[in-house]
C-alpha cells in the first residue's frame, strides 16, 4: 500500500459517487443519492489516507515536508477540501440532490492531477523559500476558500436550469427550492470569503518573513486580490443592492472563473513567485 495507490483508488471512488448522484438525479431514485453520499465519504477517507501516506513517505525519503508543494499535491488537496466541505454541507442541510453538481467537480480535480502528463506526481524536496510553517497555514486556508467558492459555483448553476414555473415536471423541477439555493450559495461564499481573506493574509505574512515585503503585486497575489474584490462585490450587491437569483449567480460564476485563473491560469500563462497552485 502506498500513497499513489490510495489516491488512484480515491479517484475511482469519486467517479463512482458522481455516477450514483447523476443516476439518482436522472432516474429520480433517492436511494442512489444516499448511496452516492456514502461513496463520497469512502472516497474522502481514501483521499485523506493518501495525503497522510504521502506526508509519511516524504519523511522516509528524507525530505520531510507537508504534501502541499507542487501542482499534483495541490490538486489532490483541492479535491479533499471540496469533498470535506461537501460532506459537511450535505450532512447539515440533508439535501443530497446538490451532490449532482459537486461530485463531478471533486472527481475532475483529482483525475486531472493523475491523468495530465505534464503534472508530475514525484515527491521532490522543498526549495528554501517554501520551507516555512506558513506554507501549511497558507495552503490550507486558501484551499478552504477555493472549496467554498467551488461549492457556491456548483449551486449557482441551479439558477439556470431549474424551471421558474413551480408546477413544471422536468427532472430539474426537483431541485431544491429557491430559498435554500440562495441560502446555500450565500453561506458557501461567506465561508470562501473568510478563508480567502485568511489565505491572502497568511501569504502576506509569509512573504514578509521570506522576502521582507508583504505585498509585491506578483501576478498570483494580484489575481487573488481580484478574486477577493469580485466576492466583496457579490456580498455588497446581495446585501445592499438587493440582487438575487440568476443575476447574482452570474457574479458567483465570474468569481469562480477568477479562482480558476488564480489557481491555473497564472501558473501557465503568467510568471511570478509562485511555483504551483
Amino acid at each position: 500500500m502506498n500513497s499513489s495507490l490510495l489516491l488512484s483508488a480515491a479517484t475511482f471512488i469519486y467517479a463512482l459517487a458522481s455516477v450514483f448522484y447523476i443516476g439518482s438525479f436522472s432516474f429520480k431514485k433517492q436511494v442512489l443519492a444516499k448511496l452516492g453520499f456514502w461513496v463520497v465519504v469512502i472516497g474522502f477517507l481514501a483521499n485523506t489516507g493518501g495525503i497522510l501516506m504521502r506526508w509519511v513517505e516524504s519523511y522516509q525519503m528524507g525530505y520531510g515536508h507537508a504534501p502541499f508543494s507542487n501542482m499534483y499535491e495541490s490538486l489532490v488537496f483541492f479535491s479533499w477540501t471540496v469533498a470535506a466541505l461537501y460532506i459537511f454541507v450535505e450532512y447539515k442541510y440533508k439535501e443530497s440532490i446538490i451532490g449532482v453538481f459537486i461530485s463531478p467537480l471533486i472527481f475532475l480535480a483529482i483525475a486531472y492531477a493523475s491523468f495530465d502528463p505534464s503534472i508530475s506526481s514525484k515527491i521532490s524536496p522543498l526549495i528554501p523559500a517554501l520551507k516555512s510553517n506558513w506554507l501549511i497555514a497558507h495552503v490550507v486556508t486558501c484551499f478552504l476558500g477555493y472549496a467554498g467558492f467551488a461549492l457556491a459555483f456548483g449551486f449557482s448553476f441551479i439558477y439556470f436550469i431549474k424551471p421558474k414555473d413551480p408546477n413544471a415536471t422536468s427532472i430539474f423541477a426537483r431541485l431544491p427550492d429557491w430559498e435554500l439555493i440562495d441560502e446555500l450559495t450565500y453561506q458557501m461564499i461567506v465561508f470562501g470569503f473568510l478563508f480567502l481573506t485568511i489565505g491572502i493574509i497568511t501569504g502576506s505574512v509569509w512573504a514578509n518573513s521570506a522576502w521582507g515585503k508583504y505585498w509585491s503585486w506578483d501576478p498570483k497575489e494580484t489575481w487573488s486580490l481580484i478574486t477577493w474584490f469580485i466576492y466583496a462585490i457579490f456580498l455588497h450587491l446581495r446585501l445592499m443592492r438587493g440582487w438575487h437569483g440568476a443575476k447574482l449567480a452570474v457574479v458567483s460564476i465570474v468569481g469562480f472563473a477568477c479562482v480558476l485563473f488564480t489557481y491555473f491560469g497564472v501558473n501557465y500563462l503568467l510568471s511570478g513567485l509562485h511555483s504551483y497552485g
Binding site: A129, T197, I201, V205, S209, W211, G212, T222, I226
Partner: protein, 453 residues
C-alpha cells in the same frame, strides 16, 4: 443633513453610497488585470521593443509601466477609503442606537407571524411553565423579559446585538491596512546589498531609485554557505552576519531564507547569492631548471618567495572572465612574478586549465593547487514602520468577518396563553439579522425541548 437636496448633502450621499462601492471595486478588479499582463517596471527599451514607440508613449502617459503606483490607481484606493469612511459615519449612528437602545422594547407582533413559528399545547398551566421556560431561555439565549398581552404573556430574550459592529470593524481594517501601506511607502525603504564574504558595509542601495541609504550600523558577512539536495536543487542558503555598532561587534547571527534578522527596526533577508573572488589560495611554484618546488597558502596581495630565492610571486587578484588572445577562459587567478634581476610580468591562471602556466615555458611555472570557493551573499534590507498597522488590519479583518458572518443578533419570543382547563397554548419563534437557516434550526430545537417540559 437637514436639507436633503442641498449640494453638500448630495455630495455626501454620493460618497456614502454602496453603488459607488460597487463601481470602485469593479474598476479596481478590472484595472488590476493590466499589471499582471503588461510587463511592470521594465526599461524603456523593453517597452519599445514590445509595443513600439507609440505604445511606449501611451504606457508612460497612463503610468501603467508601474500601474499599482500610478496616480489614478492610488486615487481609486483613496476613493474606496473615502467611501468607507463616509458610509460608516452615515450609518454608525443608526447602528449605535440599535446596539445600545435606551430600553429594549418587546413587540410580540413582530414574532407571531414568522415562518419559523412552532406551536403546541401543554397540559401544564402557564405560571408553572414560565419558571422552566425562563431558565431555559436565559441559559440558551440571554436575559429574559416578560410582557403581558391581551391573551396571556410572552417571554423574550436576545443575544448578539454587538455583532452588528462587526462589519464596521471589517471596513475600518481595510483603511488600517491601506494606512499601513502608506506609512511604509513614506517612511520605509527597500534596499538590496551585495556583500562578499569578509566584507563590511553600512551602505545599502534602494531597489528602485538606486540611491544609497546609510544604516545606523554596519553589517559584515562572515561566511555564506549553500547546501544542495542529491537532486541538485538548492536546499538551504545561509549567511553568517555580524552587526557592528560604534566600531564594536554587537552580535553575530545566521540568516536563512524565511529566517531574517531583525534589528533596530531594520530587517535583513537572505535573497540571493553568487560566487565571489576567492581571497586566498594554495599556489605551487616549480623552478623548471632545478625542479625545486615551493607550495604555500597566501592571501590576495601577499607574496611568496620563488624557489631558490630567485625573486617573488605576488597573488594580485581574481578575474571572472580571463581574456587570453581574444578567448574567454573563464574565472582565473592572476599574479605577478618579480625576478631578482628586476624583470617583472603578470601571469594568468585560469581555473578550468590548471596547467595553463606551463605553456608559457618560463623558468617558473605557477599552479593553483587549491582554493576555497568564495561567495557573496545577496541581502534584502528593508525598513517598514507601517507593517504593524497592516498586521493589526489583518487581525481585525479576520475577527470582523468572523463576527459578521457567523454570529448574529438573535431574538427569541415565546408566547403563552391559556387554553382552558389548566392547559396552555405555546408558540415560539425567532428573528436573526442573518443566517435565517441557523435561526430556524435553533427554534426547532428549542421547541422540542419546550415540549418536553
Amino acid at each position: 443633513m437637514k436639507n436633503q437636496n442641498s449640494i453638500p448633502n448630495q455630495i455626501w450621499m454620493f460618497f456614502a453610497s454602496v453603488k459607488l462601492t460597487i463601481y470602485t471595486l469593479v474598476i479596481l478588479a478590472l484595472t488590476s488585470v493590466i499589471g499582471t499582463i503588461l510587463l511592470q517596471n521594465g526599461s524603456p527599451q523593453q517597452y519599445i521593443n514590445l509595443y513600439g514607440q507609440g505604445g511606449y508613449n501611451l504606457i508612460q502617459v497612463l503610468g501603467i509601466d508601474d500601474m499599482y503606483h500610478a496616480w489614478w490607481f492610488l486615487l481609486l484606493l483613496l476613493l474606496l477609503c473615502i467611501n468607507i469612511v463616509v458610509c460608516s459615519i452615515e450609518r454608525l449612528s443608526k447602528t449605535w442606537k440599535i446596539i445600545f437602545p435606551k430600553e429594549i422594547s418587546v413587540n410580540p407582533a413582530r414574532f407571531s407571524g414568522l415562518k419559523n413559528k412552532e406551536s403546541f399545547e401543554s397540559d401544564k398551566d402557564s405560571e408553572g411553565l414560565e419558571t422552566a421556560y425562563r431558565e431555559m431561555l436565559s441559559k440558551k439565549i440571554g436575559r429574559v423579559l416578560r410582557k403581558d398581552t391581551e391573551t396571556g404573556f410572552v417571554l423574550y430574550a436576545e443575544k448578539g446585538r454587538w455583532t452588528r459592529l462587526g462589519v464596521y470593524v471589517v471596513h475600518a481594517s481595510v483603511i488600517l491596512m491601506l494606512v499601513g501601506a502608506l506609512i511604509g511607502a513614506l517612511f520605509g525603504f527597500k534596499a538590496s546589498l551585495r556583500l562578499d564574504e569578509g566584507e563590511t558595509t553600512n551602505t545599502v542601495f534602494d531597489v528602485k531609485a538606486r540611491t544609497p541609504i546609510t544604516l545606523p550600523f554596519s553589517i559584515r558577512c562572515n561566511e555564506f554557505e549553500v547546501k544542495f539536495y542529491d537532486t541538485g536543487a538548492p536546499e538551504e542558503f545561509r549567511s553568517s552576519l555580524t552587526i557592528i555598532e560604534n566600531e564594536q561587534e554587537s552580535f553575530t547571527e545566521d540568516i536563512r531564507v524565511n529566517h531574517p534578522l531583525r534589528y533596530a527596526g531594520i530587517n535583513i533577508f537572505q535573497s540571493s547569492y553568487g560566487t565571489a573572488a576567492p581571497g586566498e589560495a594554495v599556489f605551487e611554484i616549480t623552478d623548471n631548471t632545478t625542479q625545486d618546488v615551493t607550495k604555500q597558502t597566501i592571501k590576495k596581495g601577499q607574496a611568496i618567495e620563488l624557489p631558490g630565492g630567485q625573486g617573488t610571486f605576488t597573488f594580485e587578484g581574481f578575474l571572472p572572465h580571463f581574456d587570453f588572445k581574444g578567448h574567454n577562459l573563464g574565472e582565473a587567478f592572476f599574479g605577478r612574478i618579480s625576478l631578482a634581476d628586476k624583470e617583472s610580468f603578470q601571469v594568468g591562471l585560469p581555473i578550468k586549465f590548471p596547467t595553463f602556466d606551463k605553456m608559457r615555458k618560463g623558468r617558473f611555472t605557477v599552479v593553483v593547487k587549491e582554493f576555497k570557493q568564495a561567495y557573496y551573499t545577496g541581502l534584502q534590507v528593508t525598513k517598514d514602520p507601517g507593517v504593524w498597522f497592516v498586521y493589526a488590519g489583518f487581525a481585525l479583518i479576520i475577527i470582523g468577518c468572523w463576527v459578521t458572518f457567523f454570529i448574529s443578533h438573535r431574538s427569541v419570543c415565546i408566547g403563552l396563553e391559556s387554553a382552558g382547563a389548566g392547559r396552555t397554548r405555546v408558540w415560539i419563534s425567532g428573528r436573526a439579522n442573518r443566517n435565517a437557516h441557523g435561526m430556524n434550526l435553533q427554534i426547532k430545537k428549542l421547541a422540542t425541548s419546550l415540549k418536553e417540559i
